[in-house]
Amino acid sequence: TKEQFLTTFMKVREEFKNTFLKIFQDGHADLILTDPEKLLNTGIQVEITLPGKKKQRLELLSGGERSLCACALLFALLKVNPTPIVVLDEIDAPLDGRNVEKFVDILSEHAHETQFMLITHNPITIESATTWIGVTMQEPGVTSIVPYQPDKNIPSSNHAFAR
């Protein structure tokens, strides 16, 4: 219904602003309804101003900046409506070392209510996990699962995990 949509929208917008500031410390993020008169049809604009920069179109953001802002939106949605399980497949690939650390920090805050399954090649994300699942193909074309401990690599045909 309209009221439900509006209430949820306002909550997500608030959380998006908060999460953005948590990640970037400065700057500004906002969600704007493209057509507030028609709540059942309206779209949602995302506006981002990065710290020290001017507000500009989303396409001008760099690859890493865009991914990080998308993460902020994801965590805002999770705050408003936590789901028990979230799966993220190499979401950290475009991020530099420092931004991966920020991502992992925020993720850990949500890990009380939500279980996260993270597919990743990044050592910082790997270290932040509580459980590890090693996946490999000891026989070509056939997936097998092997134990993995972060301090040592899996014994597999493709041993180098270091990124």
Binding site: T83, A129, I133, V135, I145
Partner: protein, 165 residues
């Protein structure tokens, strides 16, 4: 609702049965390129009811079943079981443990089970919706998809809010 284990046999590159035991809240899945990590995500989504092969990187449902390797013949069926543990406050007619199973044969015949008893897809979707694991798109972000979350059309973005509502 907590994910406890995923068992996969015959789904995509899983020619041998594997058991993924899951504990803790941040689970890292690690492995070389092409070894089957994203296939685990597809298996989980498929098991809990994903109907569109396009969302699972396949053209049709036959591409879900192991289609052979140099040394092995294709298999005749695929089966994925996901074991969830319900929260304290969620009582369900199925008890504390929920084992959801989905199977598909090359003929295209698909069957579902809850705690080893045949059921319909609708039963699975209903029970998961109650526990918060509804069809929300933002609960699974596939490889390379994170970028499109921001640059998607304004209308696409409202869907995320609708799901959260």
């Amino acid at each position: 609702l907590k994910l406890k284990s995923i068992r996969i046999y015959g789904f995509k590159s899983f020619a041998e049965k594997v058991d993924l035991n899951i504990s803790g809240n941040i689970i890292a899945v690690i492995g070389p390129n092409g070894c089957g990590k994203s296939n685990i995500v597809d298996a989980l989504l498929w098991c809990i009811g994903e109907q569109n092969p396009r969302n699972l990187r396949a053209q049709n449902s036959e591409e879900f079943i192991f289609n052979g390797s140099k040394a092995r013949k294709p298999l005749g069926y695929a089966e994925v079981s996901v074991h969830f543990e319900m929260d304290e406050d969620h009582t369900s007619p199925h008890g504390k443990d929920l084992l959801i199973t989905r199977r598909i044969k090359r003929s295209g015949e698909s069957s579902y089970m809850i705690n080893k008893k045949n059921c319909r897809l609708k039963d699975i979707i209903d029970i998961l919706a109650d526990s918060g694991l509804g069809k929300s798109g933002y609960a699974v972000v596939g490889q390379k998809e994170i970028d499109s979350a921001l640059t998607a059309s304004p209308y696409d973005r409202r869907i995320w809010i609708d799901e959260a509502a």
